[in-house]
């Protein structure tokens, strides 16, 4: 299991990766923008620290943190965001679909709430194959009102699947405050299906890690799914388009309060300052290289636009004949 330094390193990596990605959005190298994970880093970090390489995860539109924490190469991830052939998905997926199946990363998903049932199916397949592999599905507070996710919880509970439902409650779904959309409670949704659930501080990676470890152990032992609601705050925009168009839905006090506890500072404070500096420098080197790699990589050839459309190799008819 990773120590405090490794946890800090991952948080720092995600933090700086996101800041670098935002720069590339501004420079036009990343087209379409991103949903920054800034402020939520402790959750991906803590949860993935409790996982083995063969465990699987599904992620969301706000997925960079999950993908990095599960071990994806930052350079190939950055190349994916920049739409290059060297990207994780060969430039076909971009920010919202980044995946690395070799690392158990079954993909970010652009549809809110859609991935939970996919994680359950993967968990089931693993369980029946005799593995004690666990599946984690990340989702936001907005997703707990999506029917398919609630259906998936029922399936997970019914079949005692080794699934961890991780809700990142960052207070908002786009501009909608959690309380405006969630009647009852988030953990209550798990309880409805007999799934144990707890609410934890999502800003302290050690708290997240402890809770995730316990849930993962339960799952591996065959005791079924768990839900963790991790309280957090989105430090930046819902999506980088907000950097251009100001939307009024969080007032300054709200933002200040939300940002007052920073997962990077919280974990950083636990490190020796020199060591922390050393890691910061190392992370920066990794990201310098990631950006360099991404921008130096080739754009995909338009002639291959339909490549991979069918796993069977079927070639689709073109749009002109």
């Amino acid at each position: 299991m990773p120590d405090a330094v490794a946890l800090y390193r991952t948080i720092r990596l995600i933090r700086r990766f996101e800041e670098r990605a935002i720069e590339l959005v501004r420079s036009g190298d990343i087209v379409g923008g991103v949903h920054p994970y800034l402020g939520q880093e402790a959750i991906a970090t803590g949860v993935c620290a409790a996982l083995r390489p063969d465990d699987v995860i599904t992620s969301t539109h706000r997925g960079h943190g999950h993908v990095l924490a599960k071990g994806a190469d930052p350079a190939r991830m950055m190349a994916e965001l920049a739409g290059r052939v060297t990207g994780l998905n060969r430039g076909r997926g971009g920010s919202m679909h980044a995946a690395d199946f070799s690392l158990g990363i079954l993909g970010a998903n652009a549809i809110v709430g859609a991935a939970g049932a996919i994680a359950c199916g993967a968990a089931w397949a693993g369980m029946l194959a005799g593995s004690d592999r666990v599946a984690v599905t990340f989702f936001g507070d907005g997703a707990v009102n999506q029917g398919v996710l609630l259906e998936a919880m029922n399936l997970a509970a019914l079949r005692r699947l080794p699934v961890l439902f991780v809700c990142e409650n960052n207070g908002y779904a786009t501009t909608m405050p959690t309380a405006g959309a969630v009647a009852g409670t988030i953990t209550g949704r798990a309880a409805a299906f007999g799934i144990p659930a707890s609410t934890v501080d999502g800003m302290d990676v050690s708290v997240v890690l402890d809770a995730a470890r316990e849930a993962v152990e339960r799952a591996r032992a065959g005791a079924g799914p768990t839900m963790l609601e991790c309280l957090t705050y989105r430090f930046d925009a819902h999506h980088t388009f907000e950097h251009r168009v100001r939307l009024r839905y969080r007032d300054d006090a709200d933002v200040a309060a939300g940002r007052s506890r920073d997962p990077m500072q919280i974990q950083g404070a636990r490190l020796d300052p020199d060591e922390r500096t050393r890691i910061d420098v190392a992370v920066e080197t990794v990201l310098d290289e990631a950006v360099r790699f991404a921008l130096a990589s080739d754009h995909p050839d338009p002639a291959g636009a339909l490549d991979h459309l069918y796993a069977s190799g079927l070639r689709a008819r073109p749009g002109v004949a």
């Binding site: 699987v56 995946a99 996919i118 459309l309 796993a311 079927l314």
Partner: protein, 323 residues
């Protein structure tokens, strides 16, 4: 030779695939008991880890199948009603179908969606009588509509063996079809290859699913008058365009009979592609459901909206004379 019914063919195909490939599994509602008469006996044969009864949570279990497929399984899903495909359209068209391209080739989603008794089942009214195969042809999900027991067996097996999602529509009106078969000759039928049930030289009738029988009977009735070729595409997507072009090279005349709504249905696609690229010596015709059809409950009304034998007969005669 033994007689094989369409339903039995489906059940047999599923059993054979389950036996042949450990990765194959079945999900659906009431499949333990076999309410749709396809999965009977499979639970006993293959156990609850391969034959999994699901709650009424179609969306979740459809994506559950996607997840299982991503993890190496080859699930078959049975749906009790054609319109349940509307309910899971997101999960098929926007998730399962898109994984390979979006992941740059990292993922395959070999899932088969079976709808036994698709289309109108007399008296089941508006929400149970759709025949939405054209929707899947539009989004590009492989779509098969077998017309005979042999093809039902062969196409269903090929669908399960295929590495992409495939929707298999088994028309309610084809369930009564029976065939003398030698079981030893039952084999998978490749997707994307049409079947000419009856050769002809004057008019090509493209008939989908149960309407192949209608087309054959019309061809027989017209035999002295018009030589009708009965062309069963079997797979609507990908469509066997080469086969159709060859047929139209012979006949140059085209009628499509298709039990789905007219606008943007598979009938439209066949006419459009033929008009663009193939030999047509007379204006073609479609016999379909009306635009936007909702099947009314009362028997006579339900039937009034389905493409009929008489309509086909008239259309074939008109096209034979046209041009």
């Amino acid at each position: 030779m033994p007689i094989l019914s369409y339903l039995k063919a489906l059940g047999r195909a599923l059993g054979d695939e389950l036996a042949a490939d450990e990765r194959v599994c079945v999900f659906g509602e009431d499949i333990r008991v076999g309410v749709a008469n396809v999965t009977n006996g499979l639970l006993k044969r293959f156990g609850p880890d391969r034959v999994v009864d699901m709650p009424i949570s179609e969306q979740a279990f459809t994506s559950f199948a996607t997840g299982a497929a991503l993890a190496g399984r080859r699930p078959v899903l049975e749906f009790q009603i054609p319109s349940l495909l509307f309910l899971v359209f997101e999960q098929i068209a926007n998730q399962a179908h898109k994984f390979p391209l979006m992941t740059g080739g990292q993922a395959a989603v070999p899932v088969t969606y079976l709808v036994p008794s698709s289309g109108s089942r007399t008296g089941w009214a508006g929400q149970h009588s759709d025949h939405p195969y054209s929707l899947f042809a539009h989004v590009g999900v492989k779509t098969v509509v077998p017309a005979t027991p042999t093809d039902a067996y062969g196409l269903f097996r090929a669908a399960i063996q295929d590495d992409d999602p495939v929707v298999v529509f088994a028309p309610a009106a084809a369930m009564g079809v029976r065939e003398d078969v030698d079981y030893a000759t039952l084999v998978p039928v490749p997707l994307g290859v049409a079947r000419v049930h009856r050769p002809g030289t004057d008019v090509t009738v493209v008939a989908v699913g149960h309407l192949v029988q209608t087309a054959l009977s019309v061809a027989e009735e017209l035999a002295d008058e018009i030589s009708v070729e009965v062309f069963d595409p079997r797979t609507l997507y990908p469509f066997d365009w080469t086969g159709l072009a060859a047929s139209l090279d012979r006949t140059g005349r085209l009628v499509v009979i298709d039990d789905s709504n007219r606008s943007c249905g598979i009938g439209a696609e066949v006419l459009a592609t033929a008009a663009e690229q193939m030999r047509l010596v007379a204006p073609p015709k479609r016999v379909t459901r009306p635009d936007g059809a909702v099947l009314p409950f009362a028997l006579a009304l339900d039937q009034a909206l389905q493409p009929s034998r008489d309509q086909l007969l008239t259309a074939v005669r008109a096209v034979a004379k046209g041009g």
